[in-house]
Symmetry: C2
């Protein structure tokens, strides 16, 4: 029989709900809050440490297999009343499944990079939904890790987690001071660095050579890469357009650029 | 001096606000409601008939050039008070610029199709934001028109309009009874029809020949194309994956497929 929480005044729930508020709060606690049966199951299967698992009675019933998997690795599990669930939720219609997870150690060293693989670097990417989708696409296409350069949105915020569909648990993330220094370090390690720009005079991505160890740099949604980052990369590449170039949104452009990079790996 | 509307009880505003509610309401009125300075300006520049233009005093000041363009073609223009704007808005923080537009005539005949161009067909696409993004990407990549097959979301709903960034005003839209009959008709007109599926046994999109007149069929976000539609197309194509195939979301997959189709046109 699971311990039950029926009060919206429960102190543990109130403290955990605050993890939704800010990256600073999450860093301070060393934890993040994950919502949804599939995402929580993905966290459990990816080796993320789950401190606390919360689910409503109806969620236990509806998502039985997911909940069993999560409960089997969680340190504590609670059944919460339906009126408690919205406190922990970032969505309008919560499924009623939540995990409080330990932030993973961010100690991926550049020494772990695989020379025959491709990587993605994001500079100052701010929109969490967009960020999540980019991680999801990167994982789907076989990218082996993502560099977060300068002030990016927090990968463990609720919108980024949801948008990533769990990719954030599986893709190695490298946190870097800024874009230019990341480009220089990666260059020194033998990676070709590609700056993506919206500029018809840049090299068309279709003629870029991604066959060696490569890192694709993508900038902020509104402003693109910083000039300093562009000049720190080996190549400037762009998507050639038949239609209205200014119309391609950031995540569609990233999908196409990542695809072109992986297409060149010959395995497609 | 513009006529001013200061009351939230204004009958005209109340009637126009209802255009946000449903596609049925929009069809009945023969109108749709468009929000935001840039989107309204795009409507004005694309030859959409603007019956009524509303803007707050601060929006007139902030988006002067946009508002002048819109007012120059609108049949009636009003200045509305700040507290009236939220009635007409679908967003949390309205810019304060709105147009009531005439639904464009939907009489694009298949006879107008250009044989040397590429087209997109969407079957039962339901998510309006996704739908809007797909239209935007299609326009950016040079697609010449979009077939909406079966029950798709309304292109003139607030989320689809916003996601499309105005592409909905510029791309010819063809409304079709269902996917299979559209595929058959297009086949008879000499177009090669390509059904996109998630199936590693299908032809990789990288080896598909889009050099002739081509139409790419994309299905519903959750379920893909109907089986009947797939069998009505000439080819079954798929995105070959290095990573986690199930992780690619609908709009990323569509971006990549459209890109591959246009890439083959040789102009990239």
């Amino acid at each position: 029989m699971l311990e039950q929480i029926t009060s919206r005044q429960n102190e543990t729930v109130k403290i955990h709900a605050k993890l939704l508020q800010s990256a600073a709060r999450r860093r301070e606690a060393g934890q993040f809050l994950c919502e949804g049966a599939r995402l929580c199951r993905d966290a459990a299967e990816s080796g993320i440490v789950i401190d606390t698992f919360y689910a409503t009675a109806s969620a236990y019933e509806k998502y039985g297999a997911y909940c069993q998997k999560i409960a089997s690795v969680a340190k504590r599990s609670y059944q919460i009343s339906d009126h408690v669930a919205p406190l922990l939720s970032d969505t309008k219609h919560p499924q009623g499944v939540f995990c409080v997870c330990r932030l993973p150690a961010q100690a991926h060293s550049l020494e772990t990079l695989e020379k025959d693989k491709s990587y993605l670097a994001l500079e100052q990417m701010q929109d969490p939904s967009n960020f999540g989708t980019v991680l999801r696409t990167a994982e789907a296409l076989g990218i082996k890790g993502v560099f977060l350069c300068g002030p990016c949105c927090d990968p463990f915020g609720p919108k980024a987690l949801r948008g990533s569909m769990g990719a954030v648990f599986r893709l190695p993330l490298f946190f870097c001071q800024d874009g230019p220094s990341a480009a220089k370090q990666l260059g020194e390690k033998g990676f070709a660095t590609f700056a993506s720009v919206v500029d018809s005079s840049a090299q068309p991505v279709t003629s870029a050579d991604f066959s060696g160890p490569s890192v694709l740099f993508i900038g902020n949604e509104g402003n693109g890469l910083t000039e300093n980052c562009v000049t720190s990369c080996d190549h400037r590449i762009t998507i050639p357009m038949l239609g209205r170039a200014e119309s391609l949104n950031a995540s569609a452009a990233t999908s196409i650029l990542l695809w072109e990079m992986m297409r060149d790996k010959g395995a497609m």
